[in-house]
C-alpha cells in the first residue's frame, strides 16, 4: 500500500519536473570500461567540497563575522557548543582533504594526458578550481580570527602591495582600509562564504558539463596518440563497443572512495579537532609568529629561502607564471602520446613537483630560518665554568640574542651556523672580526659590545672545541 503510494507520488513529481528524463541519461552516460580507481579523485574533491559546504553552514549558525566578536564565538564553538569542536575539526580536515584531492586529481589528469584534445577546457576550468580552493583555504584560515590570522592578513597585504601599479590598491582591498580593523574580517567572510563558493559551484557545474560533453577519458595506452582529426570518432566507437553506464558500473568506486574519505575526515575531526585558537586578534600584541596552514607552508618556505632582493619579483611573477603555465598547458601540448610510459618528462615533472613541495613543506615546518625567541640561557652542564670570562661569555651569548640564531649543542636557534665546535674552527681574531662586522644574516655587534664583553664572548666561544674521539 505504502509502496504503491510512494511510487505514484514519485511518478507525479517526475512527470511534473522531468527529473528522471533529465538526469537519467547523465547518470547512465557511457564510460570506458577500464576507468577504475585512478578516476575517483575528482568526485572525491567534489565530495570534500560538499563536506565544507555542510560543515560551513553549520558553523555559520554560531559564528559572528565581526572583528570584535568572531574570536569569542569561535571559543564558544570550540569549547561549549555541542559537537562544536568536531564541527570545526570536520571543516579543517575537510579543507585539507579538498586540497589533497584536487592535487591528486590534477596529477592523475596530467599523467594520463587527459587534458589533451578535446578536453582542454576541462583542464582549464580545473586549474581555476584549484586556485579557488587555495583561496578558500587561505581565507578560511583568516576567519579563525586569532592573532595568527590578523598577522597573516598583514603579510598577505604586504605581498599584494608588491604588485606593480595596482599594489597599493590591492593591499588596501586586502586590509579593507588602511590597517587591520573592523572592515577586514567581514570582507574575508564575504569572500569565503559567498563569492568563492558561488564561483566554485559555477565552475564545478561547467567542469561537470564538460565531462559529460567530452566523456571520461579512456585510460591511455602507449603507442596510441591523440589525433584531433580521428579522436572523437575512435572514442565514440570505443564507447559503443565496450562502454559501461557510469551509474552504477563506474560510480560505485567513486561512492566507496568518497565514503572512505568521509570516515577518515570524521575520525580526524573527532580525534584531533580543529587547530587551537591562538591569542586574541589584537594587533598590538607584538609577540606573534604568523604561519600559514599546512597547505601553504611550502610557499612560506619559498619566501624564506629565496635570495635577498628576489622575493618581490617572485611574489608578483611566481604565482602568475605558474598559473599561466598551468592554464595554457593544453595549448602547449594537446595531441600526441597520452601514456605516462611514453612521456617521461611528464612523470619527472610530477615527481619533481611532489619532491619540491614535500621538501619545502618539511623546511617550512622546521622554519630553521626563524629566530628562536624562546631560547633559554645555557645550562651549567654546557657552560662548565661557574665564573670568569667563559661564564660571563655564556651569559652574554644569551642576553645579546646570539642564541636566538645560533645553536650550542641542542640549545638555541638554527638560523645561523651552529657554534658548538666554533673554537676548533675560528681563531679569536677571526671571531672578533665576525662578531664586530656581522654578515648578510648577522648584525654587526661592534657598537653593541664593550671590549670586556667582547673578550668574555670570545673566551666562551673559544672554549667550544670539537670533542676528540
Amino acid at each position: 500500500m505504502l509502496k504503491r503510494l510512494g511510487k505514484s507520488i514519485w511518478k507525479w513529481v517526475d512527470d511534473r519536473t522531468g527529473i528522471a528524463e533529465t538526469l537519467g541519461p547523465m547518470a547512465r552516460h557511457l564510460v570506458p570500461p577500464d576507468a577504475r580507481w585512478w578516476y575517483v579523485f575528482g568526485s572525491a574533491t567534489l565530495c570534500a567540497f560538499m563536506i565544507q559546504v555542510v560543515s560551513g553552514v553549520a558553523l555559520a549558525f554560531s559564528y559572528i563575522p565581526s572583528a570584535s566578536e568572531a574570536y569569542s564565538t569561535l571559543q564558544f564553538i570550540s569549547h561549549e557548543a555541542a559537537f562544536g569542536h568536531f564541527m570545526r575539526g570536520l571543516h579543517y580536515f575537510g579543507a585539507s582533504a579538498m586540497v589533497l584531492m584536487v592535487g591528486l586529481h590534477m596529477a592523475q589528469v596530467f599523467l594520463f594526458g587527459s587534458y589533451k584534445f578535446p578536453r582542454e577546457m576541462n583542464w582549464m576550468t580545473g586549474v581555476l578550481l584549484l586556485g579557488f580552493t587555495l583561496i578558500m583555504g587561505f581565507t578560511g584560515q583568516l576567519l579563525r580570527w586569532d592573532q595568527n590570522a590578523v598577522w597573516s592578513v598583514v603579510v598577505a597585504a604586504e605581498q599584494a602591495g608588491r604588485v606593480p601599479l595596482i599594489g597599493g590598491w590591492l593591499a588596501r582591498f586586502t586590509l579593507g582600509g588602511d590597517s587591520v580593523g573592523g572592515a577586514t574580517l567581514t570582507r574575508f567572510f564575504a569572500i569565503h562564504v559567498f563569492i568563492m563558493p558561488a564561483l566554485i559551484f559555477a565552475f564545478v557545474g561547467l567542469h561537470l558539463w564538460l565531462v559529460l560533453r567530452h566523456g571520461i577519458s579512456e585510460p591511455p595506452k602507449p603507442g596510441k596518440p591523440v589525433d584531433p582529426r580521428t579522436y572523437r570518432r575512435e572514442y565514440n566507437e570505443l564507447l559503443k563497443k565496450t562502454g559501461r553506464p557510469f551509474w552504477p558500473d563506474a560510480a560505485w568506486r567513486d561512492v566507496v572512495f568518497a565514503v572512505a574519505m568521509i570516515v577518515v575526515i570524521a575520525a580526524l575531526g573527532l580525534i584531533f579537532g580543529a587547530p587551537q585558537l591562538g591569542k586574541p586578534p589584537d594587533p598590538s600584541l607584538i609577540a606573534a609568529s604568523p604561519r600559514p596552514d599546512w597547505y601553504l607552508l611550502w610557499y612560506f618556505a619559498v619566501l624564506a629561502l629565496l635570495p635577498h632582493g628576489t622575493e618581490k619579483y617572485f611574489m608578483v611573477f611566481g604565482p602568475l607564471l605558474v598559473g599561466l603555465l598551468l592554464i595554457l598547458l593544453p595549448f602547449i601540448s594537446n595531441r600526441g602520446e597520452r601514456s605516462p610510459r611514453r612521456r617521461p618528462w611528464a612523470v619527472a615533472a610530477v615527481l619533481m613537483t611532489v619532491v619540491m613541495i614535500a621538501t619545502l613543506w618539511v623546511a617550512g615546518a622546521k622554519s630553521s630560518w626563524s629566530p628562536n625567541f624562546n631560547a633559554e640561557a645555557l645550562p651549567a652542564k654546557v657552560v662548565v665554568a661557574t665564573s670568569g670570562p667563559v661564564f660571563e661569555g655564556a651569559r652574554l651569548l644569551h642576553s645579546k640574542g646570539c642564541l636566538n640564531c645560533h645553536l650550542i649543542e641542542s640549545y638555541g636557534g638554527r638560523r645561523g651556523p651552529p657554534l658548538t665546535e666554533i673554537g676548533s674552527k675560528l681563531s679569536p681574531a677571526q671571531m672578533i672580526l665576525r662578531i664586530s662586522n656581522g654578515g648578510v644574516n648577522m648584525p654587526a655587534y661592534a657598537a653593541n659590545l664593550t671590549p670586556a664583553e667582547m673578550d668574555a664572548l670570545v673566551a666562551f666561544l673559544e672554549s667550544r672545541k670539537a670533542q676528540r674521539q
Binding site: 522531468g18 597585504a157 582600509g177 607584538i286 622575493e311 625567541f373 642576553s399
Partner: protein, 186 residues
C-alpha cells in the same frame, strides 16, 4: 513524454522579413534592457564594496604616555587606537609602535611591521636590536637594517611632545609600494 514547446506560434508567414526584423528588434531590446538593469544594480554594488577603500581616514594624534614614563636611550612598546575605528572593530582597532626616547625632547616611533613581509618585529633590549620572528630580519636601534631579508629600514610614525605627553600620529600600516602616498614613512 511531450516535447517542450519551442516552436514559434504560427503566424501564417513565420520567417517573413517583417517577422525576422521584429524578432531581431525584440532580441536587441531584451539585451539592452538586461544591460541597463545590470548597470543600474552594478554601479551602486561596486561602489558600496570599493568606495571605503578610497576614503582616507584623518591622521590623528594619539597620546601614548607621559614623557617621564620613557627613559632616555630606551625603547618600549606603546599602544594606541586607529584614526577612525569602526564601532565593531573591538581589539583590532589597536595598533602598537616601538617608541625610542633619544633625548629630553626627541622621540622616534617605529612601525612594528617588518619591511620584508610585514610580521611584527620584537625588541631585544640587551642586544639593542629589533628582530623579526618570521624570516629573521634584524634592525639596529635606529631602525636601519642590520641583517637578513628586509629591503628597507623600519617605517616611522610622526611623534611630538605636547604638554608633557608623547603623541603619535596615526598612519596606515606600512606596506611596500604605497607607503610613499600615505602612511608611516621610512
Amino acid at each position: 513524454m511531450k516535447e517542450p514547446n519551442t516552436e514559434p506560434a504560427s503566424t501564417g508567414c513565420p520567417d517573413s522579413p517583417a517577422e525576422l526584423s521584429r524578432r531581431n528588434f525584440l532580441a536587441r531590446l531584451s539585451l539592452a534592457a538586461g544591460g541597463i538593469g545590470t548597470l543600474i544594480l552594478s554601479v551602486p554594488l561596486i561602489g558600496f564594496i570599493f568606495a571605503p577603500l578610497f576614503r582616507k581616514p584623518p591622521a590623528v594624534w594619539r597620546s601614548v604616555g607621559k614623557v617621564d614614563g620613557f627613559k632616555i636611550g630606551e625603547t618600549s612598546s606603546v599602544v594606541f587606537e586607529d584614526a577612525s575605528p569602526l564601532p565593531w572593530a573591538g581589539v583590532t582597532a589597536k595598533t602598537a609602535a616601538w617608541l625610542r626616547r633619544e633625548s629630553e625632547e626627541e622621540f622616534i616611533a617605529f612601525a612594528i611591521t617588518c619591511t620584508h613581509l610585514g610580521c611584527p618585529v620584537r625588541w631585544l633590549k640587551e642586544a639593542s636590536l629589533f628582530m623579526c620572528p618570521c624570516h629573521g630580519g634584524v634592525y639596529y636601534q635606529d631602525g636601519t637594517v642590520a641583517a637578513g631579508p628586509p629591503p628597507r629600514p623600519l617605517a616611522r610614525y610622526e611623534v611630538r611632545v605636547r604638554n608633557g605627553t608623547v603623541e603619535i600620529q596615526t598612519a596606515p600600516t606600512s606596506i611596500s609600494r604605497f607607503k610613499k602616498k600615505a602612511g608611516a614613512h621610512a
